[in-house]
Amino acid sequence: MTNESGIESVLWDDWHVVAELARLEHAGRFETMLLGVPVTLEMDRASGRVGARSDGADIASVAVKYGFVWICLGRPARAIVEFDECLEPERLTATGGSVRVAVSGLRAVENFLDLGHLAFVHAGYLGEEPHTEIAPYAVDARPGGGIIATGCRVYQPKPSPVDSHGFDVDYVYAVLRPYIVVLYKANPVEKTRQDMIALLVQPVSEESCVAHILTCYLPHEIHPPTVRRFQQFIFGQDRPILENQLPKRLPLDPRAEISVRADGSSAAYRRWLGASGVRFGAIPASDAAAP
């Protein structure tokens, strides 16, 4: 289903992050782009009110949540995604930075879900040879849409900003919206509870995005600067890989790129995007089949 913008409603009528609030507070005014539409953000310093305009007209749906500015260019068909962990007062909710990447945001989401790259792209931190084998894990549809991967386990030499020794880390991944993905990983101190890291991807154009990082850690020796330094270091390792993917849009045809068993979550994500009618940032399977 599309509208006057030509962009599918599943994206047009949803909320997307367009800036980290702290950045707008600092700049006062901020130019960005969402779904190919130029957007100007402004903050009234006296009242702290945030406004957004596009092409001279005010954007009606603007909100501030989890330290980010969110907008919806169409008519919001649903609320901003909920992260219940951020409501637990003892936890530290911190932004992990915003990184511009010259690739489709769907590729960035898929990379976030990916287990097999950890030992190579994040060697010495989130994985390490010879611990490269990916054990089977479960992938299911989420009741509210999206997918969830459970029972993921990887050996990690330095799983978090404060760890100095490695261990087997249990993960759960969930794709909540086409451009929003979250992971829960066992906390190194309270191993039965989980830290949360979300990637809120701003689809700038079909072939570029800004990846905004939101973290919600249990309060064990963790501080916002440490979180940001670690997250930006890790994402800095992913970025050159993402920017070397060809094509830049994510192909949804399963024949376009060959998957292995470890890619269960990636394959399910691509199928779900296709079934949801997501086209922006994707190469739909029907296009790939055409001569």
């Binding site: 287990l115 097999g116 790259h117 030992a119 190579f120 792209v121 040879e129 490269t132 084998e133 990916i134 050159p240 890989i241 070397n244 993917q245 060809l246 094509p247 192909p251 790129e257 060959i258 998957s259 292995v260 068993r261 470890a262």
Partner: protein
């Protein structure tokens, strides 16, 4: 598709290196295995599309930077998937392999792997001097067009130009012991970009080598500038 083009100089493919080039808009990863053979593959991992040229050359395999998949020299077949180390990779998991040979210290590639061995027009078996390879922001046809107008083979001599085909030209001058030939081999990088590879036969004498290289460097620089000027002018008129 079914023909050979020069894409690099042999000495660019040093051991354990992966070079990147482009032919007819197709990105190619070029690498030499430890047995000395040249591999020319589509610059894209079949698994998740990452450029193979940012991976590593192990001497027998090319290892993808993203997930460590290994692809065997020669066949391009995946022979190891680190996520499933005890499993034999599916036959469909392979790099797209192009035909590659070396001639006159140039790497020549055909995008069609069934292409017959190349026959390049070389006068005799004399040793040649590789001249500068020069990048031109113009289609190959425009380069051929400009070259056909003349080329000074040395300070005093205009060469006679013969087009072998749309991508190969020879410039000849003199006869007998004084005969000189420059062979121009064009690499159509994209529809609007070309690399001119060129070699001089017979090879320049050691004492003259620097002066000869400088002469051809200056000639080819003028050639490039002229082609780019006329293409820019044609674009303004359009």
């Amino acid at each position: 598709m079914n023909r050979w083009y020069p894409v690099a100089r042999s000495e660019e493919l040093v051991p354990r290196h992966i070079a990147q080039t482009q032919l007819l808009g197709q990105e190619i990863a070029l690498w030499r295995d430890d047995a000395g053979a040249v591999n020319a593959w589509e610059n894209r991992c079949p698994h998740r599309g990452v450029r193979l040229s940012i991976g590593s050359n192990t001497g027998t395999d090319l290892r993808c930077r993203y997930h460590g998949f290994r692809f065997a020299a020669g066949s391009g077949r995946c022979n190891f998937i680190p996520a499933h180390p005890s499993q034999k990779p599916a036959g469909s998991m392979h790099a797209v392999v192009y035909a590659a040979v070396e001639r006159y210290r140039y790497v020549c590639v055909s995008l069609d792997p069934r292409t017959d061995e190349p026959e390049l027009p070389m006068p005799g078996n004399a040793a040649a001097t590789s001249l500068r390879s020069i990048f031109v922001e113009a289609p190959a046809a425009a380069v051929v067009d400009q070259l056909s107008r003349g080329y000074r083979i040395d300070a005093a001599t205009e060469a006679v130009l013969t087009g072998e085909d749309h991508f190969t030209l020879t410039a000849a001058a003199g006869s007998g012991e004084r005969a000189q030939v420059v062979l121009f081999l064009l690499q159509p990088v994209t529809q609007t970009q070309t690399v001119i590879h060129a070699l001089l036969c017979p090879a320049a004498a050691a004492a003259d080598r620097l002066a000869v290289l400088r002469h051809h460097n200056a000639q080819m620089t003028m050639l490039r500038d002229a082609v780019e000027r006329s293409c820019a002018a044609a674009k303004r008129r359009a």
